[in-house]
């Protein structure tokens, strides 16, 4: 196994007075895909959102413990915009901005203060290439992003995240709103993208976790129950709760 880009130590998380994550300890390997699975309400999405401090958007939320990103504690960082350019997020439903395809991808670059038109153009193209969308949109970059199909919109959102050259991409059920063909394209893209980024994906689809991820973690009632290499996780899990969950015998 390579280096760990993220190290989670004794992480607890509270929505107000309600604790939803309990003493999570877990490392994420660089340039690998880690899938987070578990029943609804188990804390997997809450856990994912800790990595780019999405919870800071709401008052009263509280973290305890450490999340070390390249040995620096994310929970003590002050610049969330910089953090979110290094740790990008792709949501369940595609979220293109109401602007052109080009401007969507260039948005993050402008936010970072990159104004040189040639550089912006080059990086938009590279990001669209990286998201496997360039061939489909290169002749209509000024068209509204809302005119793209669901799968294309999701790849556009990935391109927007890629344009600012993130180290980590967080995917929150990225294909649950897509058809099987668009899903397959996103999954192929994720596997391709791990050459340049680390991916953490929350998914309800166990087959997807098995297909794309290198490591899988199972959460239940806010606790990390088991994490292992995906091929071992799905063939010989060590924990009885994991075994019951992946065999569909839970509850």
């Amino acid at each position: 196994m390579g280096d760990y880009i993220l190290k989670v130590k004794n992480l607890n998380f509270f929505y107000g007075s309600k604790q939803v994550l309990f003493n999570i300890n877990m490392n994420m390997a660089s340039n690998r895909i880690t899938a987070l699975i578990g029943p609804s309400g188990c804390g997997k999405t809450t856990f994912l959102r800790c990595f780019n401090r999405m919870h800071d958007l709401y008052k009263g939320n509280r973290y305890e413990g450490e999340i070390l990103y390249k040995e620096k504690d994310i929970l003590k960082m002050n610049d969330n915009i910089e953090l979110r350019s290094k740790i990008g997020m792709v949501f369940q439903s595609p979220t293109p901005f109401p602007m052109s395809i080009f401007d969507n991808v260039a948005y993050g670059l402008k936010l970072k203060g990159i104004k040189n038109r040639t550089e912006v153009k080059d990086r938009v193209e590279a990001a669209l290439q990286g998201a496997a969308l360039w061939q489909e949109v290169k002749d209509r970059l000024s068209a509204p992003a809302g005119g793209l199909s669901g799968g294309q919109q999701q790849r556009l959102v990935i391109a927007r995240a890629l344009a600012v050259e993130p180290d980590i991409l967080l995917f929150d059920e990225p294909t649950s709103a897509l058809d099987p063909i668009a899903t397959a394209k996103i999954e192929e893209l994720m596997i391709e993208l791990k050459k340049i980024t680390t991916i953490i994906v929350v998914t309800h689809n166990m087959q997807q976790a098995a297909r794309v991820s290198d490591y899988t973690a199972f959460f239940y009632l806010g606790e990390l129950i088991e994490t292992d290499k995906t091929e071992d996780f799905f063939t010989r899990p060590k924990n009885k709760q994991t075994e019951d969950y992946i065999r569909g015998k839970f509850g």
Binding site: M206, Q207, A210, F234, T235, R236, E243, I246, G248
Partner: protein, 227 residues
């Protein structure tokens, strides 16, 4: 019960039936040989079609379960091992037919000379087969490992019988044909024990997720605790 659970039960039930038929074929082929009972030998041959049908039917259900339900963990290992042991059971049926086919070629005096040794070997192989099937249905890995150990004894008996038969036909050249048939029979009994060993190896895989195929027994014992 969930629909997929019904499928697992169906596979288990068909495997139990297939095992029963394969075991009865093995038992009756030896009986036919030792008694010179050509009718019973014919009956063994007839049952081969039943085993073949189970082989196809179980494979078909497993194939559908894999395609439609994407089993995981123990369920996946169960389906995988079912797919593997039907091959062994089908070949046990074939070996039993091979034994039964020799009944008409063997001179009874020749059989009598070797009946006790053939019987000893067949009883040991039959014991292994019964134990392997019991271990499969009970997920009993200690029984499976004990049974695997017994294969060496069968191999030893096989070698001994072959040496004795060669010595016998060198002194009784009129019984060459019967002698060759007996060598063939011994070889098939030994193969049945090998198939029982394979079944035991899949019992271990099904329970632990670890493969012990092509592993020396000492090595298996070393790893036994973490299994």
């Amino acid at each position: 019960m969930k629909y997929v659970e019904e499928k697992y039960s169906q596979i288990r039930a068909m495997l139990a039936e297939m095992s029963k038929v394969a075991q009865s074929m093995m038992e009756d082929s030896i009986k036919a040989l030792l008694r010179g009972d050509k009718e019973l030998a014919k009956n063994v041959k007839k049952r081969d079609g039943i085993v073949d049908r189970f082989d196809n039917d179980i494979e078909d259900v497993c194939f559908k379960v894999l395609a439609m339900y994407d089993p995981k963990a123990f369920d996946l290992r169960f389906v995988m091992s079912a797919l593997r042991i039907i091959v062994d059971l089908e070949r046990i049926g074939d070996s039993s037919v091979n034994i039964a086919k020799q009944v008409k070629h063997i001179d009874s005096s020749c059989t009598q000379n070797f009946s006790s040794k053939i019987n000893e070997m067949a009883t040991a192989a039959k014991g292994m087969l019964e134990a392997s099937i019991e271990a499969f249905f009970k997920n009993d890995t200690p029984l499976a490992l004990e049974t695997i150990k017994k294969d060496d004894y069968i191999d030893k008996l096989n070698k001994q019988i072959i040496t004795d038969i060669i010595n016998y036909i060198s002194l009784n050249p009129q019984h060459v044909k019967s002698g060759v048939s007996l060598v063939y029979i011994a070889r098939n009994i030994e193969r049945i024990a090998d198939h029982a060993t394979n079944i035991c190896e899949f019992v271990y895989f099904k329970k632990t997720g670890k493969s012990i195929r092509h592993t020396y027994f000492d090595k298996i014992n070393e790893n036994k605790e973490d299994g």
